[in-house]
């Protein structure tokens, strides 16, 4: 159970090596991220989610990206390639599989580079062995997961089941609702993930197609500015470049030989990764507008709690219900790891019924919430859709009415 981190440290802490005003890639100038995120002048841009990823990466002072095509992230990964050809990042190539790509990203991060990649669905599962390795090795790689269905049968459509698999990898896991979230969190994500007390991978999720392939107005920095570069010598583990002691150093050695090592080292190592997730809370708050959750009307007896684009559908459902005189509050969960335990307990304190709409068959978010709040019979896991189905706001409206014991006519399936 986390203590709510509040008030303190409202700034992003930087390496002492950062030189604000120095030259970044191409025509960009290195900015203090505190100014870049919160003060710099912004202009509207009408972009697809994929283009949003490109615009964020342009300003991320990235060293390297490795790509592998899978819908719905292929476009974004290819656009990053365009940035490479223009000189905004220093290395880029197509790997041979997601398993290999995540290894290539790891190699680059072991060598002290800032690394970004993207994947989705089957790609995420193909790569899975890498994610706990990244976290255990304290590699602050950012992977944008543009959620899609998992085989079988094959589906290229949005479905958030893969995030369930990501939750215990030791990575930070954030879930963007909008293109604006995506833009701000890609940039902010590097700043959080690279903090020496955090130094963990970040899986930044967004819902495939709903976010990647729709156009939205996004406010982006007007000036030609970028993030400061990554300083690998603040890492909590030695960078593997032979520039830092100790030189007799293996990352990461087996710590399981009972004759000369305590098994407790491995247990403590795993705890330390979880501790680092918890330490990210205070840094994350800064870039997420003060909290890991966003709330509306918490005094209401009925609450919708969700993450990703299910939140957007929830907002519209709340409006429809309001027209009928049914008042519903809202909680948007922005960060899944760290999970906002304390924040959620507080936010749901008055609620009598809590609905959790989700784009997956498992209802994992409802389970997470049930495990965190008292009197969890209040949680109604639904509505669910999966496999690429849309979730019309009317479906949420119906679910809520049904849950309240009201008579409703079923909205016919549209398969």
């Amino acid at each position: 159970m986390n203590k709510k981190v509040d008030g303190q440290n409202s700034r992003i802490l930087l390496s002492e090596k950062v030189k604000v005003g120095s030259k970044g890639p191409v025509n960009l100038t290195v900015a203090d991220p505190n100014e870049m995120f919160f003060e710099a002048k912004r202009k509207p841009a009408f972009l697809t989610g994929s283009e949003v990823i490109k615009e964020a990466i342009r300003r991320a002072n990235l060293d390297m990206s490795v790509a592998y095509p899978i819908t719905p992230q292929s476009e974004a990964a290819a656009l990053i390639g365009e940035l490479f050809s223009e000189g905004y990042l220093k290395e880029y190539f197509r790997g041979e599989s997601e398993f290999a790509v995540m290894g290539q990203c790891a190699g680059a991060a072991f060598g002290g580079a800032r690394v970004f990649t993207t994947t989705a669905g089957p790609g995420t599962l193909r790569a899975m062995e890498n994610f706990p390795m990244w976290a255990g090795s304290r590699l602050p790689i950012q992977v944008c997961v543009t959620c899609r269905g998992i085989n079988s049968p094959l589906s290229i459509q949005p479905d958030t089941l893969e995030l369930y698999y990501m939750l215990e990898t030791g990575a930070l896991v954030w879930h963007a609702e909008t293109a604006q979230d995506l833009y701000d969190w890609i940039l902010g994500g590097f700043m959080v993930a690279e903090q020496p007390d955090v130094h963990l991978p970040l899986a930044l999720a967004c819902d495939g197609f709903f976010v990647t392939h729709t156009k939205d107005n996004v406010m982006i920095q007007e000036d030609e500015i970028c993030l400061p570069e990554y300083d690998p010598y603040r890492s909590p583990v030695p960078c593997m470049d032979m520039e830092v002691p100790p030189i007799r150093m293996m990352r990461d050695p087996f710590v399981m030989k009972s004759n000369y090592i305590s098994y407790m080292t491995h247990a403590s190592w795993q705890q330390e990764v979880r501790a680092a997730i918890d330490r990210s809370r205070k840094h994350t708050k800064v870039i997420m507008g003060g909290s890991l959750i966003e709330t509306e009307n918490l005094d209401r007896e009925i609450l919708l709690v969700s993450s990703g684009t299910a939140v957007s559908q929830g907002r519209e459902a709340i409006r429809l219900l309001e027209e009928e005189g049914i008042k519903v509050g809202l909680v948007k969960i922005k960060s899944l790891r760290p999970f906002p335990f304390e924040e959620l307990r507080e936010a749901t304190a008055n609620a009598k019924t809590i609905f959790v709409p989700e784009f997956n068959v498992a209802g994992w978010l409802a389970r997470e919430i049930k495990a965190c709040i008292p009197d969890n019979q209040r949680v109604i896991a639904g509505p669910h859709v999966a496999g690429g189905m849309t979730m019309p706001s009317e479906v949420i409206v119906m679910e809520i009415k049904k849950g309240l014991g009201m008579k409703v006519e079923a909205l016919s399936g549209r398969g």
């Binding site: 159970m1 986390n2 203590k3 981190v5 303190q8 440290n9 802490l13 304290r138 903090q195 020496p196 007390d197 130094h199 603040r234 890492s235 909590p236 583990v237 030695p238 520039e243 830092v244 002691p245 100790p246 007799r248 150093m249 293996m250 050695p253 087996f254 710590v255 030989k257 004759n259 000369y260 090592i261 305590s262 407790m264 080292t265 247990a267 403590s268 190592w269 705890q271 330390e272 979880r274 501790a275 680092a276 918890d278 330490r279 809370r281 205070k282």
Partner: protein
């Protein structure tokens, strides 16, 4: 209201929790933490100096970042650490690397993050300082020490600090190490006596221990 977790010397548990997962938050610049409580840095100097002077076997564990002269600042930190050890007095026992050392370590003259408790137990260390150890490795060691020993742990961290230590500074430099030494000197002048059991610091050569208590 649940009771606030405190980061106290152990032996705490078969597998103690990481302090961060118990809600302990790291200090911000200008702050330190004492047993999980965020305090002004100044308060921590005094508290740490008294703890160190009060120990029977106060010991400094310098890590690779200050043992190796990989930059000028490292050399300055090493000099400051030696001054602090002399001021107290405290033993110096290096954490030369983090490898699972084969076939085994000699707990009299080294400490290893994979089983730091062996060195604490062997030398009956009751208060120690971690300095120049990479943060991940320091946290593993600090937690294992809390799990199995009654040693009071102090971290002098060049980054964000350690909530797994009983007391932690952050952003340390040669100057801040000297400041702790100066606080020790001042307290001594004010009449606080070192409780350290007399010892002779070991001296090591390429052949092995040349002199001192091991």
């Amino acid at each position: 209201m649940e009771e606030q977790y405190q980061v106290l010397p152990g032996p705490e548990a078969f597998l103690p929790p990481a302090a961060a997962s118990q809600g302990i938050v790291l200090p911000d610049p200008g702050q330190a933490h004492i047993e999980g409580r965020l305090v002004d840095e100044e308060e921590a100097y005094e508290y740490a100096a008294r703890k160190l002077l009060g120990g029977k076997v106060p010991t400094i564990f310098p890590g690779p970042l200050v043992l190796w002269k990989w930059n000028e600042k490292a050399a300055k930190k090493a000099s400051a650490i030696r001054r602090l050890a002399n001021a107290l007095p405290a033993r110096l026992i290096p954490m030369a690397d983090y490898r699972p050392k084969y076939p085994k370590i000699d707990p009299a003259v080294e400490i290893n993050p994979n089983h730091p408790n062996l060195t604490i137990w062997h030398n009956k260390i009751d208060v120690c300082i971690f300095v120049g150890v990479h943060c991940h490795q320091a946290n593993l060691a600090l937690k294992i020490i809390r799990g199995g020993t009654d040693c009071y742990t102090i971290a002098m961290c060049a980054q964000a600090g350690h909530e797994d230590a009983c007391l932690s500074f952050r952003d340390i430099s040669p100057e801040t190490i000297d400041k702790l030494a100066a606080t020790v000197e001042r307290l001594k002048k004010e009449g606080v006596e070192s409780q350290a059991i007399p010892f002779e610091q070991f001296v090591m050569s390429r052949e092995g221990v040349v002199k001192g208590d091991v």
